[in-house]
Amino acid sequence: MNSPFLDNSLFRNIYCYLASGSDDCAARGYDMAILPSGLEWLAFALTAFIIINIVINAGLGAVIVYIWGERRILGRIQNRTGPNRWGPFGTLTSVADAIKTLFKEDIVPDEADRWLFNLAPILMVFPVLMVLSVIPFGVGTFVVDLNVGILFVIAITSMSGISVVLASWASGNRIAIFAGMRSVAMLISYEIPMALSLIGVLMLAGSMSLGAIVDAQDIPFILVQPLGLFVFLLAAQAETSRTPFDLIEAESELAAGYLNDYSSMKFGIFFLAEFLATIVASMLIVTLFLGGWRGWEPIPSQIWFAGKTVLVLLFIMWMRFSWPRLRVDQILALAWKGLFELTLINIFVTAILIAIWPEPSVTELLIMSAINWVVFFISIWAVSKLLRPGDYTAPAPREDRPSYPVATDELPDEVAYTGGATR
């Protein structure tokens, strides 16, 4: 059986050890086979199963490590130690948290719509895991290289909005309803700049496949597409609802937002999906803008990919822990008045440049990036000028102002409290 997946070294390494008698495998130097001839379909299924398990478990393991890392870094940013009780440097804290979450009572409120209430966490985590399947983690290390990879990513991530609405509606909780309304407004608004910001990358790479985009990055697209990266970074933050865009679970306003009525592992799954979404978003940023797994020998490509992902995650954490939240109207204004225009500018300029140099060499890419950076700074300046709140007129110096600028006459000059009078 000739498998179209044999270019994938992850797949090949497992499949060819299982299946026997495959000409393709023999041609590539594999001669060991566990399953007898004729069972190639079983080898194929087993391989797929193993790979899916590897990727999902790696993703979940990454979440455990990420939660620990985020809490440690939050601690350092806030001048404290962070978790340090369980395991060396507190590395087992997330494990302890996960165990604790598992053993909590699973409460379904009386007013909840049981079906949707239980369905929502699954719908939340499922698209994020699906996105993992198209990301190339290294040379030949990927689950599948879809030729419409980007389209797939955009389509599948928009499902998370549905799950938030479901969760908030099914809870039968009024505070959760606010989270649902906000998620409809915000997640859908940010889908558009997020999708449009990738069009420049598509034009440069000439393909929608994430593998082909990495191949096309002779210089990382962060140089050629600064506007695209800027918009995508902000939109991805909004999609994963991180501060300053964490409207949906705004703690100081909505308590836990749509999570208000969730407990135990359903809550845990939401949490997992949220953190996994952040990791996946930074993986996408690395793949699309930072050259993916490309780096210099002898460091393996997978390490390059992981290192770049950690760097992007650090940047996202830094943003998250420094800034307060925006208001809902400001967030929508930013999406429609700011980011949307920026993406249109980016598409316009990149299209002109691609029309001039249809198959850009490295030199031409560098010229493009020079032009794009100029456009980047000018357009960001212009948009921030547009969106910036107006200034106060500075308060006048004290000497120029009367003691009572307003309502002077109503106030007595001296107020004497007549205390101590005998009764």
Partner: protein, 372 residues
């Protein structure tokens, strides 16, 4: 043909178990979408009957009750109560004691404003980072209180006519070190927060109160000064030795959330100036009158007295009635937190849900004082 989409307002209970109600405050809010159309504040969840309890205690024992009213401004509460007791009992305070309690209350004012600013930013949604920065500075001031009286929050430091104990020798260098460190930290706050575009756009023009509205509701403190009314009891009706020190009263004209925040940050700088002057003017001597003049079991003559100070939240007044016995016949507190809340509805109606807790935080209330 156009169809009208039918919408209906939602009424939501926010609190008493809500993360940002600064204690156990409850609001029954009616929303139209995200916009607030009605607010009904409900409080009393922390009522402990402090005023009634005071009638069963001696004048000195009541100090511990005042600590627990506004527990981020204990020294200031002590001071207001002591002024009322001194006025009631015609007690002549000892000068060194008065200077010491001025220093203590100005330190407390800085600590209280730090808490107010930190939690305001927390309500804006920052992930605790600015809050922890302000709390770090507050810790240093609490350490100073520990040197003064052994307690950090519920100080009970003041006694009729002064304080119960002189400051230890190592207090003065420690205090100077804290005062030297504070201004750069406040500048840091300015850099991180005041010039921050997000904070500026979130707070500017939100929940504007006019001076007329606030004077009608007898609102005092930084809220009033944020609207440009120069009303500060330390300046208008100087108690203790505030007439011997000079300080600026920071005024802002806007009367919105940002102005309230801005006034608090500036007042911290002024408090540092006051403490520096007190330190120069303080002289050795007894810290409270002789026991024969002012006994622990104080029996003031029959009468009543009202004394008020400029608390970090507004005018804090104590009204005491004496029937000549060892405990007050009646004790009433004019709590700024409660009175500043009276315009909550005017502040919130028409604003968005997101700004609700920011406005609420900018009032800087303390539930211990609202409910007493």
């Amino acid at each position: 043909m156009t169809t009208q989409v039918r919408t209906e307002p939602i009424t939501v209970n926010l609190g008493p178990q809500h993360p940002s109600t600064h204690g156990v405050f409850r609001m029954r809010v009616t929303f139209d979408g995200e916009e607030i159309i009605d607010v009904e504040p409900i409080f009393g969840y922390l009522h402990r009957g402090s005023e009634k309890l005071a009638e069963e205690r001696t004048y000195v024992q009541v100090v511990t009750l005042t600590d627990r009213m506004d527990y981020v401004g204990s020294m200031l509460n002590n001071q207001a109560y002591m002024l009322a007791v001194e006025k009631l009992g015609n007690v002549e305070p000892a000068p060194r004691g008065v200077w010491l309690r001025m220093i203590a209350s100005e330190l407390q004012r800085i600590a209280s404003h730090l808490v107010a600013v930190g939690f305001l930013i927390q309500d804006l949604g920052a992930w605790g980072t600015p809050l922890i920065y302000t709390m770090r500075e507050r810790e240093k001031i609490l350490d100073l209180f520990e040197m003064l009286c052994g307690a950090r929050i519920t100080n009970s430091y003041l006694r009729p006519g002064g304080v119960f104990m002189d400051a230890p020798a190592e207090f003065w260098p420690a205090m100077n070190a804290v005062l030297d460190e504070l201004p750069p930290r406040i500048d840091d706050l300015d850099d991180l927060l005041t010039d921050n575009d997000i904070i500026f756009s979130r707070t500017k023009g939100v929940s504007v109160l006019t001076p007329e509205q606030m004077l009608d509701a007898s609102i005092t403190g930084p809220m009033l000064r944020a609207a440009g009314v120069d009303w500060d009891l330390r300046h208008r009706d100087p108690y203790d030795y505030y007439d011997q020190v000079t300080f600026e009263r920071p005024l802002h004209t806007a009367g919105d959330n940002f102005a309230r925040y801005w006034v608090r940050v500036q007042e911290m700088r002024e408090s540092i100036k006051i403490i520096r002057q007190c330190e120069k003017l303080i002289e050795p001597g007894p810290v409270r009158p002789e026991h024969d003049d002012v006994p622990w079991l104080l029996r003031p003559p029959i009468g009543d007295a009202y004394a008020a100070i400029e608390h970090s939240k507004g005018e804090l007044g104590f009204y005491l009635v004496s029937d000549g016995s060892i405990s007050p016949y009646r004790c009433h507190v004019r709590a700024p937190s409660l009175i500043n809340l009276t315009l909550l509805r005017e502040m919130l109606v028409g604003e968005l849900l997101a700004d609700m807790f920011v406005s609420f935080g900018s009032v800087d209330i303390n539930m211990g004082e609202v409910d007493r």
